[in-house]
Symmetry: C2
Amino acid sequence: MPTRRQFLGSAALAATALTPSVNRAAEFPTIIPQKAAPKKLKLSFKPYTLELKHAFNVAVYSRTTTPVVLTQVEYTEGKTKVVGYGEASMPPYLGETQESVMKFLSQVDLGKYENPFDLETILSDADALMPDNTAAKASLDIALHDVVGKLMGQPLYNLWGYNPAKTPNTTFTIGIDKPEVVREKMKETTPFNIIKVKIGQQDSDRMMIETVRSMTDKPLVADANQGWKDKQYALDTIYWLKEQGVQFIEQPLPKDMVDENAWITERSPIPVITDEAVKRLPQILKAKDVYHGINIKLMKCTGVREANKMITLARALGMKVMIGCMTETSCAITAAAHLTPMVDWADLDGALLIKNDCFKGMTVQNGKITLPTRPGLGIVPV
Amino acid sequence: MPTRRQFLGSAALAATALTPSVNRAAEFPTIIPQKAAPKKLKLSFKPYTLELKHAFNVAVYSRTTTPVVLTQVEYTEGKTKVVGYGEASMPPYLGETQESVMKFLSQVDLGKYENPFDLETILSDADALMPDNTAAKASLDIALHDVVGKLMGQPLYNLWGYNPAKTPNTTFTIGIDKPEVVREKMKETTPFNIIKVKIGQQDSDRMMIETVRSMTDKPLVADANQGWKDKQYALDTIYWLKEQGVQFIEQPLPKDMVDENAWITERSPIPVITDEAVKRLPQILKAKDVYHGINIKLMKCTGVREANKMITLARALGMKVMIGCMTETSCAITAAAHLTPMVDWADLDGALLIKNDCFKGMTVQNGKITLPTRPGLGIVPV
């Protein structure tokens, strides 16, 4: 179906073709070709490959790079010109690629919107274009929020009324590896107050925690990434994790094992948080009786606008909230960081795990997320 | 318990008293008196009495005036000075008075906040000061939102990413009265596309609807204001209302008759909306299985910040949302109007029912809510 703009464009064209002389005008419906209004919003994007400092091993796969797409939304009105930055990150298991993201973004016609602030309309329209494509949608959401923040002259946390002093510590993640590699990686955890340990392979679970615990007294959190299959093993291990100072466990069993995950949550001495079972807002209601809390990630949920709604809903349901990330540059990481004054835990180390970050944004100071005070995302290309 | 500011103030005073000479300084802990930072946020308020054009009759009472308190929040930083307007409206049945509102507001110490944008902290602190006092809290919330909108140079709908073109029609309310009075009042409904009829006294229910219907073909909505007591009478009447072109029924039975209201909702051919059963966010979860939707009013829910969260929660639960009002000036009415692009129905005629509105704000054009485009609330004192 043609968009309104395409339709108007061809109508104007038709009018030109059909009215060669003033005399003939009366024979046709009066269609006056309008001078096209200058496009105020313009979207551009390019692929980029993140190089990881270490191969990233979780329960189900391993990798050394992550493909992303970097977006820019340019807003021009008279002498005002503002550029907003966005990012889509596509770890391979989520089904999006640089190609699919760029295909999606090439169908987004920002030129038809007059008001860059009308995020509800623009983002709902984009959401309706195709199902899924959540990372692609997030890259648009992030860039538009950067634009409106800059137009208002305020950082995102001020747009939302959040207190930048209330950001939590971020975890730093240690992937599954041999003890000597884990010990080596532990050197990088010095700036952090809380460490996230990937487990879930059953054989190496206790080794991972014990190796980390042998080198630090800091609080830990653990992420099984759906790796376990046996609920009793999971529960026993969770009890042991609590003794090791682990504060919560993420996604113990595969998300489809709903009853078994609920069984664990009912009995667990520490919060059980879901990652894989909740991508977007509507799934939270179903997760309410299965988990204590949710892990919100911008690349799963289409961006900060929906993430804010998810925080509201989860809180209203009495659930815990954490914000996580994929491997991302400081662009998407900083967007997520602006939400953290409202969450229990943050796991925003994604940009610290890559060699070629192309933005400066949120920093970690004494382990705590520290937000830039510049307007919008507050990031700067480097 | 002294506030931090009070504590610093007395510490500074103590330091002055205890260090009469430089020589004695070493004998005491070094407390250097700091020049007090200039207060950036300042709250003021005054009582005001709204005079109604007509005595207002609903199922349970009648009145000719409504007491309100008008608030102002002044923000000063260097040469920047911005004034935000707020309002608390206190229909007598809700338990707040001008005295109780002013008592509440006099305990709010805005001087201790450096960042006027940090609404989550400021409004949470105010909420925690005393229970209830929802109108008083709303007056603060509204004025602060006016301030931040003005500081950002944007109308509230832009702050929230809402499309001002998507506002609904507002209903205009006809109170319970004799047929000749109702017919006279109907002259005022010309500018509106949808009319809200107060019913609930049982004896006069059909007369009210029939009198209105005899004078207009416009869609109606009906509000029983908890007036009915018998569920079968209520359901029969609702079926009859549907035949009369009534689009939804508000609060058929007293809110405490939970099972009976749920019974009606299950069987009703039109949406059943609750007003009295839901004041604030947490009550929505309980209302989910009792009503189809909720009526959000700023004076019940502490203001636009919580109202926005209520919209998100109700939508996530698949509920209908309407926004209503008390008798209010164009200050509080306009604040509510900025939320209306996100709701199904709006009942924002409160300022049209009074003789002495002291603001110009949202207008009704061809029956539709039309938002001012000025920054903040966009209202102007008259």
